[in-house]
Each structure stands twice: as C-alpha cells, then as structure tokens.
Subunit: 307 residues, 2 copies
C-alpha cells in the first residue's frame, strides 16, 4: 500500500447545486434541479486521483447530519474515508447555476470550529504506516492554527511520509519550511512572496526555503515546477473552455500520485500529466471530475522546457 | 380546547437565511451569517397566532434529516406540532440577504412528493375533536390533488370544524365551494375569478360560490371582508416600510383566531385586528414574526367602512 494517497480536507463541505431558470437579484426562484455531493478541495483531489486509478483515503472532520450526508456521499462515490467526528455541524456550500448561461454563483459557509481536542484526535488516527503520500488542500476551519498543514508535514516526515500542500500566503511559506512539496497558483505565490516575483523565481525561492519541490499553476501560461535538481515550465495543451474550478486540484492529484511512487520523480514528466489533467478537469462541469479520454489524449502532447 | 388553532403546512420547509456582504451574480461569496428555522406559510400563521396568545397545533409532513431539523425548530419555538412522516426529504429554502440593502434573493426547492398513503395517514391523525379551527396555507407538495385543501374543508365540516384556506387560482374556488373561510390577495383573487373583477365583487362572489366568508388583502389599499351578512373594507394604518413577506399570513392568523372563537365573528372587528397584525408583521425582518407593541397600538386605530 506504499502508493496510498491520503487526502486531507480539514474543512469538508456538502456542496449543493441549485439549477434555476434565470438568477435575478432580489427575486424569488423555483429550484428546477438539486444536486448534492461531498466537497472541499481535498475531496476534489481524492476524486481525480481515484479516477486516474490510484488508491485514495479521504481524511477530514465531519459533524452533525450534514457530516453524515458527506460521509454517505464519499462512500457512494467509492472513496474510502477516515473521518474524525467533531461537535460542530459540517458546512454546506450552495452554488446557483443560471439556466441562461450555466454560470455559477457560489455561497460558502465558513464551517464549524475545530477544537484542540478534535485536532489531536485527527492526528491520533492518522494511519501513517499505510500512506504513500499525504495531500493537504483547501481552507482551514475556524479554530485551527495557520500552520496546521505544516504541523502535519512535520509529523508526516517523522513517519517517512512526504506531504503535498496546496496553500497560499503564510501557510504556503510554513509548508515550504516544513519540507513539503508545495502547490499554489500564481496569485497565491505572489500573496506569499510579493507582487514583483516571477512564477519561476517564486518556485525556486520556495525550494530554497526548504520545500522538496514547488509546483505552481500559472493559468493560461501553463505550470512551473522547481526542485533541487532544476526548474521546468510546461505549456498548456490548447485553449480549453469550461469550468476552471477544480483544475488546480487535478494538478495536486497528479503531483501527489507521482510523489507516492517516488519522492524525487522526474518533474518534467509529472508536469506533462499535471497540465493534461488540469485541462481535462476544465472540460467537466463539476469540480473533482476529469475527462479521462481527453487526459490520455493530451498527456503525451504537453511541451516542457527546462528553465 | 375549543379555541385550538390547527395550522396546516403541507409543504413544510427548513428556511435557511445566508447573510453576505454584497451579492454579485457569478461571484463566490463568504456567508457571514446563517439562520435556520421552520418555514412555510402555515408555520408563519402558527407563529403569529401563538404570539397573539392563542393555542396552536402545527400540522404537516416531515421527512429525512431536514424534517427532523424542522421538527426540532418548531419544538424550540414552543409550537406544538403533530407531524406525519413521509419517505421524501423535507425541502429547504435559501434566502440570500444582501448586506448592502437588506434585500433578499430567494431559492425555493419544490419539496418531496407525498404519496396517497401518506396523505391518508395525514387525515387519519387529524385530532378533529381538539380543534377550534383549521387554517391551511401555502403551496401543495408534488403528488397531492389541487383540491387537497377543499378535501380537508369537507372533512372538517363533518367534525363541525371550520376551515380557513389561504389559496389562489383553482384551489381558491374549490375552497369556497367547500364552504371554507377563504383568504387570498388581490392578485390571487383575480387569477381565480378574472382580471376585471374588483376586490369587493370578488369577495362577494366567493361567498355566493359557498364560502362562509372571504378576506382579501389588497396591498396598500387595505383589506376587504365579505360574508352573508355584508361586506367591509378596512383602510391601512399608515405607510409601513419593511418586509412584506408574512403580512398575509399574519392576516390569516387573526382570521383563524376569530373563527375559532365564533363561526360568525363581527368581520368589521376582525378586519381591524387583521390590518394591524399585517402592518406589525411588515415591521419585522422575518416572516412569522410581528411587532406586538405596534399591533396593540394600531389595532384600535384602523378605520373600517361597511360596503
């Protein structure tokens, strides 16, 4: 089970999607269609990794009846989960999808507070011996320290498990210092290191700070990876139209799967898969899904340059 | 217990209110404030009647975890309830309240289907002997016949219980034929009887059709009541700014309370209380609440004319 990918979603949600004919501010709308599924960036990572054929274990907190619905949906989706119960009620997000143009308007509940005891219980049940990698993504719930991911990375290291951390700002720098493989987009990188820095420089700087590697998504300019062995830029496959939510999570899933196989993968190869998976995620309407045929078609076509 | 007011809400809901800083179509919003309570027009009627000091019994269908939340909230609000379980999941409504101007944008789930067996179970548990009046309001869930309220009115008559039915269109005419006290607003009245009819004529026509009485809210023009003894118009107290949702339900609560005391109340007196209660409901931000002090101040001031 050395390849098992643990995905951490500290602020799990029940993602509810309402279809309406036309969204009018101040209006009263009949909901024509309702969908519900487990959400949070870590769940997207788990879904994509499972779709790509990897074994995953979804980790997080659940509370109340909404937490039960999240646990049920993970089960129904075939995702193995190890969930720590909390006193608070798991949050919901509501996405209103406009029938006119398919655009989504999103409302995110902050989520329940996690106590120190609950955070300790989460650590106590981490199945370190079974994990090949630990991938941490998404916002932190109220009550947890800003370096919660870094704390997980340090503990993971004690068990010889590498961590992939998708974060921005202070949490990104803390994760780099803790030796994780760090993931961010260009905006999050600049939020952490300053507005003037280029994506290449920023990725290299995170490695100097202590990161095992840094993989930064750069929108329509592709992706950059840096490690102690070098730095690479992958160019996007082609102009893809669709829903960009979840594209970064698809990248994280590919990075986590690569790190689960080898702590020092060939980053040029990883970038090819990451770019193809992100683009294949944009093609699907729901975050966490990817178009597997498009992924397989694009993966060999991605161009990667050494920097 | 002859004065007990049974309120029927066949399409109960959990009303969720999300506060956001500013609602932007296509945007992603942090929810700054969440409130949840039992909803549906019949629940508003029950809340107002209870606030006015009457004994109420809330009747309706509940299913799933959302149904449990609705039942809990009714209990916490001090409202006695007799709820019939159904297989479907109780619906939610979501209201997004804009922090800029307090305006609400509302999303209504249709609600679960009610089967014939579940409808029969609802009838079987009606505590007719304990009821002074039965007040029916709000939309019908999928699966029930359009004359479901009229059917309740006919059964109620067999038990010497009078029914107050707030409905529009076909259901309004069916309720009148069944001998109920009917409640509607001017738009619903015209939807049922034609666009050319005046509110006075319409109210009288519903009585000719068979209604024990008709009480029609007419927006800023006040309210009209008609019975076999005559017809009356009450003028509004003063220009009231606020949330008009629930104002009609406050009127229904007053009408139901009057009918519970006497099947032939003095409609001129009832209209005074109904107008004051509706205006006092507009002053509060949440449907089902009324400003009791404003109600008591306004009630003696309402002007009523015989037509």
């Amino acid at each position: 089970m050395a390849g098992l990918i643990g995905t951490v979603t500290l602020n799990l949600a029940l993602d509810v999607t309402y279809g309406v004919d036309e969204l009018v501010v101040g209006g009263s709308h009949r909901v024509t269609d309702i969908r519900q599924r487990a959400g949070g960036k870590g769940v997207n990572v788990a879904r994509v990794a499972a779709t790509l054929g990897h074994q995953v274990l979804a980790l997080g907190f659940v509370g109340g009846v909404t937490g039960e619905l999240v646990a049920e949906e993970l089960f129904d989706a075939g995702l193995t989960a190890l969930l720590t119960p909390i006193r608070g009620e798991t949050r919901r997000t509501v996405a209103i999808v406009n029938g006119q143009d398919g655009d989504a308007t999103i409302f995110n509940e902050a989520g329940p507070s996690v106590s120190e005891d609950e955070w300790r219980a989460f650590h106590d049940r981490m199945p370190w011996a079974r994990l090949g990698v630990l991938a941490c993504s998404g916002s932190l719930p109220p009550g947890l320290p800003v370096d919660a991911y870094a704390e997980l990375a340090v503990r993971a290291r004690h068990h010889d498990v590498l961590t992939v951390i998708d974060a921005g700002g202070e949490a990104l720098v803390a994760a780099a210092k803790a030796g994780a493989v760090v993931r961010a987009n260009a905006a999050e990188l600049r939020e952490a290191l300053g507005n003037d820095i280029s994506v290449e420089e920023g990725a290299r700087q995170l490695v100097v700070t202590g990161a095992t590697a840094a993989v930064i998504t750069d929108g329509s300019r592709g992706m950059v990876a840096a490690s102690k062995s070098g730095a690479w830029r992958a160019l996007p496959v082609e102009r893809v139209a669709g829903n960009p939510t979840g594209a970064g999570d698809a990248c994280t899933a590919v990075v986590a799967a690569a790190v689960a196989e080898s702590p020092e993968p060939d980053w040029a190869v990883v970038l090819k898969s990451a770019v193809a998976a992100s683009a294949a995620a944009v093609l699907t309407p729901v975050a966490g899904d990817i178009d597997l045929a498009a992924y397989q078609r694009w993966q060999p076509q991605v161009a990667v340059q050494s920097l």
